[in-house]
């Protein structure tokens, strides 16, 4: 039976209008803006923005700071992704053991960073990482190690940002892995035990292959999330020192909302979108072939 169109409009209409105005049309508008020279003068009078073809993209290609931001963002992705996977998988496997105690305490504490406001906790971290008064360097000094100037040293700034990123992500991913582990049938392990498999062998030949769907989901979400790195460097370092923590989105924010070069910033958004789509598709293709 077909539903009366008045009811269809009433139920789908509000969602559709909002999605159109705030999501679907803006996506196309972003593509359009990326081909214009929309700048601070066009803010008051949109007609001052002119179509300039591919100029923004050519400029972007020659922009050293953009390349720097690109490299930094990939540095974060390439380091943070494996570290997050290893730590969260380890936690999940250990929490899934029958013999492990205080499970709910561990699960709750691992999960706290994830639901916490990044901006507010980054303020806390910036003091923990303070070279003279910070907790971390005080702790290292107990072992006779002189900690670096974490956020002030271009070599250590990005690792510090990554530390916060991983700290926030481990609990969430551990929950996802744990859900995957709990969905696994017991008989596989029982059979392996009968054959005398060690726990390492069981992990390598049963757990990991069986966790593949979760692994694909987790790594895909990480690619999407880590490439949008913004709040951590914005709060910890403002992209410094010497632009060593400048990320793509931070650069987009600066170009768009500090200098109001909205056309140029849109071209950064388009490049980011294309990169995320390409990497996501690549990840899913790889998953199919495995």
């Amino acid at each position: 039976m077909k539903t009366n169109w008045i009811w269809i409009l009433t139920f789908v209409g509000p969602a559709l209008i909002l999605l159109m105005v705030f999501l679907i049309i803006p996506i196309f508008a972003s593509f359009y803006l990326s081909f214009t020279d929309f700048n601070v003068f066009a803010m008051t009078d949109w007609s001052r923005a002119k179509l300039v073809g591919l100029r923004n993209f050519i400029e972007l290609f020659k922009d050293e700071l953009f390349w720097k931001a690109l490299m930094n963002t990939f540095y974060c992705l390439v380091v943070a992704m494996p570290v997050t996977v290893v730590l969260s998988l380890t936690c999940a496997v250990l929490l899934n053991r029958e013999q492990t105690r205080f499970k709910s305490f561990f699960r709750t504490s691992f999960f706290l960073p994830f639901i916490t406001n990044t901006v507010a906790i980054a303020v806390v971290w910036s003091w923990i990482l303070n070279p003279s008064y910070g907790l971390l360097n005080w702790f290292l000094s107990l072992f006779g190690i002189k900690g670096p100037n974490w956020l002030g040293d271009p070599r250590w700034a990005m690792p510090s940002v990554i530390m916060l990123v991983v700290w926030k992500a481990v609990g969430y991913n551990a929950i996802l892995f744990l859900a995957g582990l709990q969905n696994m049938p017991d008989f596989l392990y029982e059979a392996a035990e009968l054959d005398g498999a060690t726990s390492w062998q069981k992990f390598w030949y049963i757990t990991l292959p069986m966790l593949r769907p979760t692994m694909v989901f987790v790594t895909t979400m990480m690619i999407i999330g880590y490439l949008q790195l913004f709040e951590e460097p914005y709060m910890l370092t403002q992209g410094g020192p010497l632009n060593s923590t400048l990320s793509i989105v931070l650069y987009l924010y600066r170009q768009g909302f500090k200098f109001f070069k909205l056309g140029y910033a849109s071209s950064i958004a388009v490049v980011l979108f294309l990169m995320i789509s390409a990497l996501t598709l690549l990840r899913l293709k790889l998953a199919e072939r495995e």
Partner: protein, 277 residues
Amino acid sequence: MRKRKSSWLQEIAVHGFLFIMAAIMILPFLWMISTSFKTPAEIFVLPPRWIPKEPALENYRELFASINFGRPFMNTVIVASSITFLSLLISSMAGYAFAKFRFKGRDKLFFLILATLMVPGQMTMIPVFLLLRQLGLLNTYAGLILPGVASAFNIFFMRQFIMTIPNELIEAAKMDGARESFIFFRIILPLSKPALTTIAIFTFTGSWNSFLWPLIIAQDERMYTLPVAVSVLAGQYGENLGIQMAGSCVVITPILVFFLFAQRYFIKGIALTGLKG
């Protein structure tokens, strides 16, 4: 005998590792809370005192009296609750229509909505900013709320859940002459409570923590949300650690308490989205 000893060692190693991980996760919070109650004299003392000798409310008093942190707090409460309420209503309505109504182009339309899930937020940020500016909605509640209400994920989630509600229930109600609005409010919504709880929790937490959007829309101090106010605080009171920690506490604690009470919904919700994907 020997085997038993080694498994005992193994237990210690496993629990040791888990306790160290838990400590790394919890200590920043404890340090934040304890520092927010410290006087300047005690703040920089190393080794850190986890329990202040003379706990003081000075930092909080200054935060609310002279910096007027109450205003961003109220703004955040208003914005996050409105987004949650409106998003729940609108996405469950659309979810119901996509799950149970039959009309031309339904699946194509739904697929279009799904496709937008892949698009990063930065892609819509600049055009929406320009649109709101043109409409004079910068620095207004409407500007902060409306773009957050349209959530493709929530529509998707509600549709998946409502699909599992048996058609017979709806058919029977229709036989009795019930209208769609009655079916939606009296049958669908009550049965969707688990799904509604999940997305209510995630939408509220997400909008409470949202930063980049309010940073762009709320340029006037009176419209700051908590995360924006804290980021400004870090710039203006760069040296005043106690005030900064009190500010962070005000942002973090409500969600933390909320989480501790509603924990199982959080974790169930996450496991659910992960298994589906």
